[in-house]
Symmetry: D3
Subunit: 248 residues, 6 copies
Amino acid sequence: MRIHVVNPNTTQSMTDKIAAAAKAAALPTTHILATQPDMGPVSIEGYFDEAFSVPGLLQCIAAAETQGVAGHVIACFDDTGLDAARCLATTPVIGIGEAAFHAASLVAGTFSVVTTLSRSIPAIEHNLVRYGLASRCARVRASEVPVLSLDDPGSPARRLISDEIEKAKADDRAEAIVLGCAGMADLAAQLSEQHGLPVIDGVAVAVGLVEMLSRNGILTSKRGGYASPLPKTYAGIFAAFAPRHAGD
Amino acid sequence: MRIHVVNPNTTQSMTDKIAAAAKAAALPTTHILATQPDMGPVSIEGYFDEAFSVPGLLQCIAAAETQGVAGHVIACFDDTGLDAARCLATTPVIGIGEAAFHAASLVAGTFSVVTTLSRSIPAIEHNLVRYGLASRCARVRASEVPVLSLDDPGSPARRLISDEIEKAKADDRAEAIVLGCAGMADLAAQLSEQHGLPVIDGVAVAVGLVEMLSRNGILTSKRGGYASPLPKTYAGIFAAFAPRHAGD
Amino acid sequence: MRIHVVNPNTTQSMTDKIAAAAKAAALPTTHILATQPDMGPVSIEGYFDEAFSVPGLLQCIAAAETQGVAGHVIACFDDTGLDAARCLATTPVIGIGEAAFHAASLVAGTFSVVTTLSRSIPAIEHNLVRYGLASRCARVRASEVPVLSLDDPGSPARRLISDEIEKAKADDRAEAIVLGCAGMADLAAQLSEQHGLPVIDGVAVAVGLVEMLSRNGILTSKRGGYASPLPKTYAGIFAAFAPRHAGD
Amino acid sequence: MRIHVVNPNTTQSMTDKIAAAAKAAALPTTHILATQPDMGPVSIEGYFDEAFSVPGLLQCIAAAETQGVAGHVIACFDDTGLDAARCLATTPVIGIGEAAFHAASLVAGTFSVVTTLSRSIPAIEHNLVRYGLASRCARVRASEVPVLSLDDPGSPARRLISDEIEKAKADDRAEAIVLGCAGMADLAAQLSEQHGLPVIDGVAVAVGLVEMLSRNGILTSKRGGYASPLPKTYAGIFAAFAPRHAGD
Amino acid sequence: MRIHVVNPNTTQSMTDKIAAAAKAAALPTTHILATQPDMGPVSIEGYFDEAFSVPGLLQCIAAAETQGVAGHVIACFDDTGLDAARCLATTPVIGIGEAAFHAASLVAGTFSVVTTLSRSIPAIEHNLVRYGLASRCARVRASEVPVLSLDDPGSPARRLISDEIEKAKADDRAEAIVLGCAGMADLAAQLSEQHGLPVIDGVAVAVGLVEMLSRNGILTSKRGGYASPLPKTYAGIFAAFAPRHAGD
Amino acid sequence: MRIHVVNPNTTQSMTDKIAAAAKAAALPTTHILATQPDMGPVSIEGYFDEAFSVPGLLQCIAAAETQGVAGHVIACFDDTGLDAARCLATTPVIGIGEAAFHAASLVAGTFSVVTTLSRSIPAIEHNLVRYGLASRCARVRASEVPVLSLDDPGSPARRLISDEIEKAKADDRAEAIVLGCAGMADLAAQLSEQHGLPVIDGVAVAVGLVEMLSRNGILTSKRGGYASPLPKTYAGIFAAFAPRHAGD
């Protein structure tokens, strides 16, 4: 099967890292189609960046749908644009944030999240409440590592994240850790071994969840909030994005 | 004071109706600046339309900020783009959904919402949960009136909305009604009289809330989720939207 | 319009301070009618004091209603007697506690409350749960300043409150502060500037909320819990307070 | 032991009925001291009546404390004045509402409440939320029987209550019923037999809970919200109610 | 009346201690029937031990039912097997965990639990959520005292528990303490006096609750989750435990 | 990889059906090891049956662990014994109830559950609350089909389940359906097609979740509630089940 993994920011090195994590996690028979939008922010740090990443992300989703993919992974921990993407796609769409929360809930009573900047904490907390899994999360912690520093080998990113995991173990009674950024995907295995508890990267588990849903023929429900967009006119630079009648 | 009221869809007649409701509610000393984006959907019905209304809406917010407004009202009941707009603006930003929920909570123990299409119910429910006011809302109901039919004098919109209010009184034990679309602003007074309970339009109360906050010098907190966007590059058609350094 | 602001304790200097805060916040066209009961405690510190402040407070509400007021503000942070007052009055009644919680929720993701004595914390927490806004409040903190010390220029009250705000910023990740006593009304602006986040006094915003509701013709719902009291006999010293038939 | 049961309204026939229920439930070695205030409403139907029942109720509590009682029962289903009474008394104080909710939670997964008038529903719902037991209550139902009709042998009260129990079984999946008024105390046993599920009267179980707590030497905590009132002046007709220094 | 108190582990000294606590709390007219299973773990520390204590516990419940008991107390703080025992018994079944939570909720706004090992915390937290009383519990704390050390006079158990109570007072704002193990029953009175707040042992209050329910004729509801087991075959070593038709 | 699927009841035909569903869902490279205990009830309908299914189930888990399985699926919708099994196993353990709830949450905003008998509803509701997913479940519905009737081709089981799905669509606004019994595994695909929304069987998705976790090297956390059982003596018929020291 083909699975589309979209990095909603426009930084190629992050797309590459995400693609590598996805490929490492995927079944041998799965082909990973990794994309990034050609419009929008180079990294997503807060609500404003999120807003400008969504149109390009949806363009990627639409393009991938025409290529017969089995499902989509949105590789931003805020699950940016997830609801809109589910309306658009006919196949399942999984955000790496939700994927990691669900996976952690299956192997631990409680987990803590370690993300990048503290400005990203509220969005993650809102998602946890919406998904219902806030009661499973002991605390969302910020390592204060900017997203793009995760790609800088000279940055103290790994140490800062590890320190925050230590605090989560000591202060939150966390039984598992969720890494709160797609750019941390390469750290999960090593941190898990070092700290002696599950450390979960959302990219890997999101790919696995799409594979699981697709192999079982489970598609997004089109009753309710994820109904296909109604055909209508979009003005200006978004005219080409407007939903069309099925027969158009 | 000047208050910016932005209709996030691109339908001029709705902008006009919203502007009229805002002016009717505003203080004599308040000037209403009503805008609409020049890109995006003609009406917002579900998550997909929401996603494409936000960039244009934020452009309107940015433009209004340069004109010294005291605050902004986002006149879409989904409170589309509210978080991103709060990051961008220095003055308060109020969504008409939240405004109506807060107002109803001040005059009634519980309220029901009557909105347009059932596909919009989940987004409204998510907002209620996030704001904390889900416990005050008995039920979100759909009248199944499309947004643009609200402008059609020949449509059964008013009757369908009134019927749903009747059910909310009988079945939900609702003590107040919140009208779930900016396009219903002109119906509130008449329906309130007819049904003998508060029927609240978010446009009017949102204007009053901005006036109240502004007169008391209360601004959006810049600690946490609403911190100003970090300066960075935005690619492609969004390059001009990229946050800049304060001194740029 | 005339707005009735009732200080539910019997200390004239607090009534004066509250009246000053209300007048400073009110529209130029609003007349503030400030009252205090002639029975009950000199300050309200805990549930017992609350109970004996309510009859006098309701007497003040009833008297003000005969003078054609547009609404009432109950200027005790516990929102003492709010439910009973809403049953009695035909116009809106706003507690300064709820007013401050709602205002803070419009400009910040989360807030902490700084109140007087720790014995008052549970009542405030109960109100937050009832209103639905407990999820927005990071923590209710006590400065251990007795209510009447707030009027004593020699007391360390201001410093103790400021220290507690510092802790709320450091430990609670609070994005805004709500001052938890009507007697702190004069401190809000200065503390907001000092600490760099919104510091909200309930008296000012409650006046603004009554103005907003009244200008929009929104009255308390009389369906449900706030229905007018049923006519019946009250025994003993409360005989004169008994609800009467409309025609009596 | 002596247990004080206070009927917070001023209707002697209800005090008599409550005393009878308390005596029937009490241990042979327990003496029931039944009182009613000499001021306040003849029945408590809503928040306004509640407010005027509390001072007299607290006077009864204070008087009973001087007589060496082992604890107090507040025999109004709204648990009127419970918090203030706990501040005042040194021995346990139990409201019949909370008593019934706790008892039902010990013998059933979920219960429904059948009370008198619908205007009383919100106060009961608020109590359930505060106590934490809202998740155990399927629904609060009103039989629309006025409190004093419960004493009228010609009224359809019993039939209306029974009908509402039938609906709770069919529609709420209720596993037990809580009778929502002290005046229904004499109906519990018969309705339980008729409907084949536990039907719980709060007066009886509240007496049993005071006996249980007292025999185990468990007193109300004086840390936090139930701390003894601080000594201070009360003005006007409440001067005599003012808390005094321990040594006064 | 006869009350059955079952210690679900197989350690006689704990059964003796529990029996002593139950007898000390019981009415003079109550006969305590103390039992322990003849199969299963010597102490219950975590979910695995729980699972193997339940069959023997249910055998004890079944045997006691044939002896005409008025009710059952399950003397393990995890309320092990409570739901299954309620299905089996015709008379009330009370777990000492729930008993202590309910008792604490009647005399304090919030309580903290001090239990044995941290591995037991999640099960206790789950129970609190299920019962609805999680909002009343400030924190579940582990003293890291193994269950059987509670019987060892040379162990530091009492000091460790007392230290944890001190932390609960300082850090949790706890108004009462619940002791989280049946083996702590003999410590409650002394710790309560030492720390100046209610310290509650579940064995004593559970006995009192069974007495209260039984004297009021309140039985477990057989509608819903506690319906009597359906007659069916059980295989292997559990064949004799299989539910039989009423007439069998 | 080898995955152990245990049917916790002792009915071979159900084990066969479950094995078939598991094999149909598994990867070609996955070997399904299907087991059933040799002690315990022939079907699990309520808490009492649950209690007697757990020891045998844990015996199956222990046996499978010695065979190098990658993980375990507990094929009873109540997730019987899940916590104890997680303590025992070193590899992931997934209950089919939780598996189905998580899968439904990934493709729909809300779901309803259709289970067998109404006596099973409370246990399912408790699980939903514990897992955090209660807010995603609109309603748990009983079809009143006994578990073993699902194997009877002449029973009206399929029609009754389909009728209940119809009600869930009409009354609950359910966007997806979760089938609430392992014995319904063969109905999912057909009912999904018939009703036009996702109908999810827990057996299939649980297998997929174990595959996903195992392929990513994610194991159950041994910090907290799922710590390995402490070595100790078990009395009587359970002596052989006692946890041993690692070196024993």
